[in-house]
Symmetry: C2
Subunit: 375 residues, 2 copies
């Protein structure tokens, strides 16, 4: 029996392990956050990142994967010398640095918003002048907390934004008036075979994914093949193994790549109940060198995140075609504590079922409006 080592012990690792038991896999999870929530498999807790238990963890596992991309690169390199690390170090390197990421997109002829890299408040002001307001300024590398962004609406605000973000280098991107946000989840195996889930529509509020509709409604079929071509190029370039997610903007001129994540992704959670093979199983199949599974959807699906507060469990379980995924985490503002998957035969029926499920979700009124806006 093989043991998969997962770096990180949150809900992604947990759902990966749940998907892996039917494949007779064992799991060991290595947590450095001090608050592992996965509560499955063998948990190694190393809150001070002292790596005292890392050796034992590595001895125990056959291969290593990760549930988050902000692993220190030197650590990733050291691990990759001892056990197979899938996806590899290069994916981490690219995904940790917005400049490298954008440059790779450009190299592969994947359109992105116009951008500039700046190292001072003056350079920031110059970039804003060139790109035109509004712009989005982001720290070039990102910490664990997802902070370090500002929308600059007027050139006079550059100095303030520079100070607020407080990072030695920023990427400044043209603000895109997108029609909607899409994402593509794909997997690539050790033999280079690939599979793609349908593009999905994502809705964020306050920087947090609130819901996903899968497949994205009224989608031009050309966009699916376009997105798959971009993904195929990225995966091949990085010799990537595992599940990868590409976030895109749909604009009047087509797709623009926003960013990518070298892992299973919140916008792929619908696959747990809405696709023949879920993203977690496909990630495991990919890193184990097993054949990839069918990504076709069953009808249409919605995924509603439970952010900060849990849903009424009995209320959700009473609903037809509705599945609760409760992460067993305590409530805290902004924390993802679970999600609800809803399936239907068509979008009209889906939206009605989503509305019923939202009645079981605390403070869901704004969410209710946005979802109704889609229908």
């Amino acid at each position: 029996m093989q043991t998969i080592g997962i770096l990180g012990a949150g809900q992604l690792g947990r759902m990966m392990a749940v998907a892996g038991y039917p494949l007779a896999l064992n799991f060991a999870l290595y947590d450095t956050s001090g608050s592992p929530s996965a509560n499955i498999g063998k948990i190694y807790s190393d809150p001070n990142n002292a790596q005292t238990e890392l050796k034992q963890f590595l001895q125990e596992v056959d291969l290593v994967t990760y549930e988050f991309e902000h692993l220190p690169l030197d650590l990733a390199n050291r691990i990759a010398k001892i056990k197979p690390l899938r996806p590899g170090v290069r994916a981490l390197q690219v995904c940790q640095n917005r400049e490298l990421e954008k440059r790779l997109f450009r190299e592969l002829a994947i359109p992105t918003p116009a951008y500039a890299i700046v190292s001072s408040a003056e350079q920031l002001a110059n970039a804003v002048e060139q790109l035109g307001t509004p712009v989005v300024a982001k720290s070039l590398t990102e910490g664990y907390d997802g902070k370090g962004q500002a929308v600059i609406k007027h050139i006079d605000h550059c100095r303030q934004a520079w100070q607020d973000i407080g990072h030695p280098q920023l990427i400044v991107e043209q603000f895109i008036h997108f029609r909607r946000e899409l994402s593509l989840v794909a997997a690539r195996g050790t033999d280079g075979s690939t599979c793609f889930y349908p593009l999905v529509e994502n809705n964020h509020q306050g920087g947090i994914l609130r819901f996903t509709i899968a497949p994205a409604p009224s989608l031009d079929a050309k966009l699916q093949s376009q997105a798959e071509a971009y993904m195929e190029a990225l995966l091949a370039d990085m010799d990537y193994v595992g599940v990868m997610t590409l976030e895109l903007f749909e604009t009047e001129d087509g797709l623009l790549a926003n960013e990518m994540a070298p892992r299973v992704h919140n916008s792929g959670h619908w696959t747990l109940n809405g696709a023949h093979t879920c993203q977690f199983e496909n990630h495991l199949r990919a890193i184990l060198g097993l054949p990839l599974g069918d990504t076709a959807p069953h009808g249409v699906s919605a995924m509603v995140n439970l952010v900060g507060r849990h849903a009424n469990v009995a209320g959700v379980l009473r609903l037809k075609d509705t599945h609760l995924h409760h992460y067993g985490k305590s409530e805290r503002p902004g924390r993802k504590v679970g999600h609800i998957n809803i399936n239907a035969e068509n979008y009209t029926a889906l939206i009605e079922k989503v509305k019923l499920s939202l009645q079981q979700v605390p403070e869901s009124s704004t969410l209710q409006c946005s979802i109704a806006g889609i229908a």
Copy 2:
């Protein structure tokens, strides 16, 4: 977060735990076999049945359920005094004794094969004379190994059969020339609400379930409602909580009850991929007092048991609409080491897919014939 205690730590407990993680449940499993295979949750191993760890196990859990019905009744009684035991002691009592079981069927006007209880070789011969050959003679109570049965084809064989079975009391049943074997899996909640999966068709070879087709093809709708009425009566009589399975013979004169199992059941494994809510989740919902989930099937399904030998993992994963459930157990003749679930839109397509999957199963030639015989 609630912790469910499971008595037994085999594949049924394992699949129950896998189904319980999305409901934020913890699991502790208590094994007395000396070879727990569940490999999930916290395993208490007590191979000598010394019950030294039982106290600690009971302290840790919020409620107790079981994955097998051959628990000593005194132990079950002791547990039920300390923590809620669901299903309760009465279900164990009835299901451990074929006479009590048959008597309950009769009391509730559930037809069974004609039978007699005998305590000697002479009484056995008298019973055979009365019932007519062939008969099936079984020990009244059953050990863990499922032994203790004989088909008696001639009255002269009674003495030999009595000696072979070697049990002080036997039940002798008329041998039923059934059309096929069916089973009904149902759940009953703490509030008395019930739900029923469709009747499925089971095929045994050498006393071991080999495959299930769900729903049972070409089934008279009357039989489904008849079986549900029998189940409803049994559940209500025992004030049962949890999933229960009733095995039935379909004959020219309708249904005859064979036996029941107070637990999730091998003939319900297809629900993992073929029904809106699987039997394991519905068992957990039931014992936790949560609303029961939708039992409707997605199209039609087959479940093929992997007996003794594992399938070719990569070969199975390559197949469309086919899901592997590998229990992580070592191979041993007669041991259930996994199963394969196959889904399709109709029975013709299903049988074709089953045949493809059987190419990945060692020594499946007889199975191939039987399944083809159904189509």
